[in-house]
Subunit: 307 residues, 2 copies
């Protein structure tokens, strides 16, 4: 096992408690979704909840909340959007794990959705989670009534980040790519597949938190950089980690003969690059002062995490 490779700096901000607290609050909000819905007795909602509640890091919801709070808003303003981002993320994991795609049997240490249920149910559970994301945001926007245009902007932002010009396109490039790929192309894949939704998460929070365009743009740049760093660290963990810790078979990318940042530039250079990206991301936060502390800590967490 490698230790954390990003240097530690002294801060009074208790990130461990912050992270745990936010994860619990997000999990509580997710847990409530469709719990008491009266629905036909099919495995659809059980499969949606199975994958959603399988214990992720909740990074996108927490970035959304942190973005909102940095811009002056409160958590309650964006919790439905935070949940929606996790729904989008979960749907993408379910579909990426399908036999026709990455064909993974384990996710977050548990059988993937199509292994626990079946392939048809997994396709539909993913579809329903994606649809529910937009239903959730729209419902909250209709309830809130105050500033409907901002909610429309958030839906537009999330959809653009998730679709053919963002996450889905990134996954398409990823599965079509082989070993013959440049570092630049790999960056594009990472920015689309992971960076776009992370960027949208922070920005959606900032929009609903009442941020001005300067703040929203700064958080967008921050999000893109930490998103890219996140994926680079994922590569490293894929090679270094142990199955029990990261919850998916180690070296699964290598087994599939995919190029990764790790294989293209070597581990040490990949780590250095992740650190540079985080440094650069932190500079984007200068506008926010103490209100940006959670975002600073989240950026560092992204490179220090072990899974």
């Amino acid at each position: 096992m490698q230790g954390p490779f990003y240097r530690k700096t002294v801060t009074t901000f208790d990130f461990e408690n912050y992270l745990k607290g936010k994860q619990q609050e997000v999990n509580a909000a997710l847990e409530k979704l469709w719990k008491d819905v009266v629905a036909p007795p099919t495995p659809l909602i059980p499969a949606m909840r199975y994958s959603l509640l399988a214990g992720g890091k909740r990074l996108r919801p927490i970035l959304c909340i942190a973005g909102c709070e940095a811009a002056g808003g409160s958590q309650a303003d964006v919790m439905p959007v935070a949940c929606a981002l996790e729904l989008v993320h979960t749907y993408s994991l379910i579909h990426d794990d399908l036999p026709a795609m990455d064909d993974d049997d384990l996710r977050r240490g548990k059988p993937t959705c199509h292994k626990e249920f079946d392939e048809a149910t997994a396709v539909l559970a993913g579809d329903a989670l994606l649809t529910a994301a937009f239903e959730t945001i729209a419902a909250a926007g209709c309830d809130q009534r105050g500033d409907a245009l901002k909610w429309l902007e958030v839906i537009h932002l999330v959809a653009r980040a998730a679709g053919y010009s963002g996450m889905v396109q990134g996954q398409m490039m990823d599965i079509s790519s082989g070993k013959e790929i440049t570092l630049e192309e790999l960056d594009t894949i990472y920015l689309l597949k992971t960076g776009a939704l992370i960027e949208a998460s922070v920005q959606a929070g900032a929009i609903l938190g009442g941020g001005g365009s300067g703040e929203i743009n700064a958080l967008g740049a921050y999000g893109r950089k930490i998103g890219l760093a996140f994926q680079i660290v994922d590569d490293i963990l894929d090679v270094e980690g142990k199955t029990e810790i990261i919850g998916k078979p180690v070296g699964s990318d290598q087994a599939h003969e995919k190029a990764t940042g790790h294989s293209l530039m070597g581990r040490e250079q990949a780590k250095a690059r992740a650190n540079e990206l985080i440094d650069s991301a932190l500079q984007e936060l200068s506008l926010f002062g103490a209100k940006g502390e959670p975002l600073v800590a989240l950026a560092r967490y992204i490179v220090n995490r072990r899974r």
Copy 2:
């Protein structure tokens, strides 16, 4: 070949021209989507456009436009929503045709998306079409600015109709059902799988066309009834039709050992039921007078169509 079984009534409204004209206008709007988008050279957008432009009836977009015009709005107000409804419908066809679901090789007389491309591309093209539907509505709402809350309501309506309490749930029930099913359960499947999105199509048009709640409710009831009739007629066509005309293998439901209205109540009774539903749907249109003529004709078309 059977002739049309719904009785003809005299009207001065030229439905054939209306339908052709609307189909051309909807097709022109769909044709423009992502035509000039600068995107990575993956098959994602080609696959999305392949299935979208494979020549459907455009029933949902036209019902949306007709609902809008009946409520006093104009086609330009809702064309983005009309397109979005066809994106949702097309995504559902792509995913329903997958090997893990209905495993169909032909759709609208052409190879299905996963046959023309591959399975992974088909999953992602469906995902991207669904996401693009919400992006399209949100973008139009942001541009229009006038009444953002109505656009949020439309997104909520479409998402609810498409997801776990509508279309996706209907498909889930459909693939889990066998021959042991009651007519009541079959109605539920049809109402969820087909009725919900058709209902939302007409209602979304009415909302953006400025309809009052009485009009919106009446069009909802109309939509549910014609949606159910549509699916009953589909069953009949599945048995009666010829592959060249309906564009998918005849009797594919029978081959899969699924119960259909046709197999549960017999052809003549199924036809009578479709006609009753259409009669009842037409009564919902009394509010609209001459403005409802296209909706009257569309309801009749649904039972008279041969594919």
